[in-house]
C-alpha cells in the first residue's frame, strides 16, 4: 500500500462543503420578505439573515457551505448563520452538490388513472352571439347541432366502463347552450345516476349556461338533483350587454338576472374578461353583491385582436386583481372567505404547497365528448384534432393521452424552464397556449406578456397568502382546499 492510500482512510466520501443552489424566488412586498421554493412549492417568510442569504445565493448555481457560513456569520453572527443555512437546507434550496436531482413532480402523468370528469357537449348551438366565443357560438369550428340521447348515453357508458375503481366522478353538461337541449340533459343525468348507483360510485352533476333560457322546471330539477350551476355573465349591464348580446340584438343581463333572482337558483358566476372589460374589480364586486355564491374570471381566448388582451390591458386587469386581493384580506379579517374563486384557488394551492406540473385536469382527469362521438382533452378544445384523445367507440387512446400531456410538462417547454412560477401555473391553459402559438404544432407555449401577467398573479397570490397568514391566520385552515388540479381554471 502506498503512502498516499494511508491518507485516504478516515475521510468522508464527499467534499461535503460543495452545495448546489436550487431555484428559489425571493421577493419583497409591503413589509414582507418572502421566499418561494420553485420545485417543492414551500413558502416562507424570511428574517434579516434569511434575506441576506437569499441575496447572497441569487444567481449562483453552487456555493461553498463553509464560505457561505463565514460570510453570513460576519453579517448576522454565527448562530443566526448556522440556523439560516440549515433552514435553507431543510427547504432544499441548498443541497449537497452531488446529491442526485430527482425530477420535479411527475406524478400527474406517471400514474394516469381513469378520468374523473366527463364534459358532455349536449348542444353545439347557442342563443347568444358573444363575439369572443371560443366555441364559435357553439359550433366549435364545425356546424350547429345537438347531441342526441343515444350519443349522450353512449358517451356516459364508455366513460363509466373505463372508470376502474374510481369512486367519485362528475358529469358536466356543456355547450353551446345546454339548456337548448334539456331532454338530453334529463336523459343523461338519469342514466349516469342509475349507473353510478348500480356500481357504488358517487356522481356529481354540473351545468354551465348563459342563464337566459332557465325555466322554473329546470331550476327545480337542478336544485333537487344538487347540480352545480355556473352562469356565464360578464359583469354589470353596461359591460355585459355590450359583449354578450342575444341573437338578433339586445343585452342578456336583465334576462339572466331576472331568472337568477326569481327561480331560487344560487349559481356561480363565470366571467370572461376581454379587452373591452378589464375592470375586474368592479365586475367581481358587482356579481358578488348581486348574490352569486362564487365568482370566477377567465381571460378571453378568441384569437381575435378585437377581444384578446394586449400588454396594457393586462396591466389594467392586474390593478383590479390587487384591489380584489385587498377585499380578500378584508373579508378574511371578518372571518369570511371572499367568493372570488381565482384568488381563493391560488391561495388554496399555495397553502397545500404541492408543485403542479400541469395547469389543469385536461386529459388527465377530464375529457370532453361531442355530438360526433369524439372525445377531447377539454371542453375548450372540442373539434381540435390535435387534442383529440379518444372516441365513444374505442374509449380513451392511452398513447394519445400520454403523448399530449407528456409534451406539456413545464420541464419540456423552454419558457417554463427558467420561470419561478412554473410549478404553480403548470405551464398555463393548453387552449390559450395553442392560440398563442399560432395554432401550430406542439409544444405550445403562452405568450410572454401573458406569462408576465400570470407571474404577477401568483406573486400577488403569495403576498395575499402571507397577509392572511399574518392578519387572519385562522382563515388558512378554511383555505386548505383541494389539491385537484381540476379545481383551478387554468387560464386564471
Amino acid at each position: 500500500m502506498s503512502a498516499a492510500t494511508e491518507v485516504l482512510v478516515p475521510i468522508p466520501v464527499r467534499p461535503d462543503d460543495l452545495l448546489r443552489v436550487n431555484a428559489f424566488f425571493p421577493f419583497e412586498e409591503g413589509e414582507k420578505r418572502l421566499l418561494f421554493v420553485v420545485e417543492n412549492a414551500a413558502f416562507t417568510e424570511l428574517d434579516d439573515a434569511g434575506w441576506a442569504l437569499a441575496n447572497m445565493l441569487a444567481g449562483h448555481p453552487r456555493t461553498s457551505r463553509k464560505a457561505t457560513l463565514k460570510a453570513l456569520s460576519e453579517l448576522h453572527g454565527e448562530e443566526a448563520a448556522v440556523a439560516t443555512v440549515e433552514g435553507f437546507e431543510q427547504l432544499e434550496i441548498l443541497e449537497p452538490a452531488d446529491r442526485p436531482r430527482l425530477p420535479a413532480d411527475m406524478s400527474s402523468f406517471g400514474v394516469m388513472g381513469p378520468m374523473s370528469s366527463l364534459v358532455l357537449h349536449v348542444a353545439h348551438d347557442c342563443n347568444l352571439r358573444c363575439g369572443y366565443c371560443y366555441a364559435d357560438f357553439g359550433r366549435y369550428g364545425d356546424s350547429f347541432g345537438m347531441m342526441d340521447e343515444a350519443m349522450a348515453i353512449a358517451h356516459i357508458d364508455k366513460f363509466f366502463d373505463q372508470l376502474g375503481d374510481r369512486k367519485t366522478v362528475s358529469v358536466t353538461f356543456f355547450g353551446g347552450e345546454p339548456l337548448m337541449n334539456m331532454p338530453v340533459v334529463y336523459a343523461g343525468h338519469a342514466h349516469a345516476k342509475a349507473r353510478a348507483e348500480r356500481e357504488g360510485r358517487k356522481v356529481g352533476f354540473s351545468l354551465t349556461t348563459n342563464g337566459t333560457l332557465l325555466t322554473q322546471e329546470a331550476v327545480d330539477f337542478f336544485i333537487r338533483e344538487k347540480f352545480v350551476i355556473t352562469v356565464s355573465i360578464d359583469g354589470p349591464p353596461d359591460i355585459n350587454d355590450k359583449i354578450r348580446p342575444i341573437e338578433g340584438g339586445g343585452g342578456s343581463y336583465e334576462k339572466i338576472m331576472e331568472r337568477v333572482r326569481t327561480t331560487g337558483l344560487h349559481p356561480i358566476a363565470r366571467v370572461t374578461l376581454t379587452k373591452k372589460s378589464t375592470d375586474v374589480a368592479r365586475i367581481v364586486r358587482h356579481l358578488v353583491d348581486a348574490g352569486f355564491k362564487d365568482v370566477g374570471v377567465s381571460p378571453v381566448a378568441s384569437g381575435s385582436k378585437k377581444f384578446d388582451f394586449e400588454k396594457e390591458d393586462l396591466a389594467q386587469v392586474m390593478i383590479g386583481m390587487r384591489a380584489l386581493a385587498d377585499d380578500f384580506v378584508a373579508y378574511a379579517k371578518q372571518g369570511k372567505v371572499f367568493p372570488f374563486s381565482n384568488m381563493r384557488g391560488i391561495l388554496e394551492q399555495i397553502g397545500a404547497g404541492e408543485p403542479r406540473p400541469l395547469p389543469c385536469g385536461a386529459a388527465t382527469n377530464l375529457a370532453a365528448a361531442d355530438n360526433k362521438g369524439d372525445v377531447y382533452a377539454c371542453h375548450r378544445l372540442v373539434g381540435n384534432e390535435q387534442f383529440k384523445i379518444g372516441t365513444v367507440k374505442e374509449g380513451i387512446d392511452r398513447d394519445r393521452r400520454f403523448n399530449l400531456i407528456g409534451g406539456m410538462h413545464p420541464r419540456t417547454r423552454a419558457p417554463c424552464q427558467s420561470c419561478w412560477a412554473r410549478y404553480l401555473c403548470g405551464g398555463g391553459c393548453h387552449h390559450i397556449a395553442w392560440l398563442h402559438s399560432g395554432k401550430g404544432e406542439a409544444p405550445w407555449t403562452i405568450a410572454d406578456d401573458f406569462c408576465d401577467f400570470l407571474r404577477d398573479m401568483y406573486r400577488l397570490g403569495l403576498y395575499t397568502y402571507a397577509r392572511v397568514a399574518d392578519e387572519a391566520p385562522e382563515m388558512l385552515s378554511r383555505l386548505k382546499g383541494t389539491k385537484d388540479a381540476c379545481s383551478q381554471p387554468a387560464g386564471l
Binding site: T5, V7, L8, P12, P15, D16, T44, E89, E92, Y465
Partner: protein, 95 residues
Amino acid sequence: MAMKPLNRKAETLTSRSPDDVRPYTFGDCCPGFLPGWEVAANGQADACGWQADLRACHPCYWTAQVPDNATYPNWMDNCGNVAQDWETGLPLVGP
C-alpha cells in the same frame, strides 16, 4: 428560527432534523450496486476494493470506474489530500 414557514410544505420541510437533511453519506447509495470493484485487473479479488468504493460515488452518484490499488499501486500518488484534491489529483488510467 431563521424563517417562518407559511404553508404546509414549508412546515413539513422545516420540521425535519439536520440528520434528515444532510445524512452522513458514506454507504448511503453506491456500495450495494457497485459492478465489479471486487475483482482486480489480474483476476484476483482486490485487496483494497473498499477504498475504491469510497470514491466511487463521486461526483455524479453514478459509479465511476477507478483502478484497483493492487494493479496500480501508485495511481493516486499525485493526490495530496483526497478530500480536497481528488478532482485534480487522481489520474486516468487505462486497462
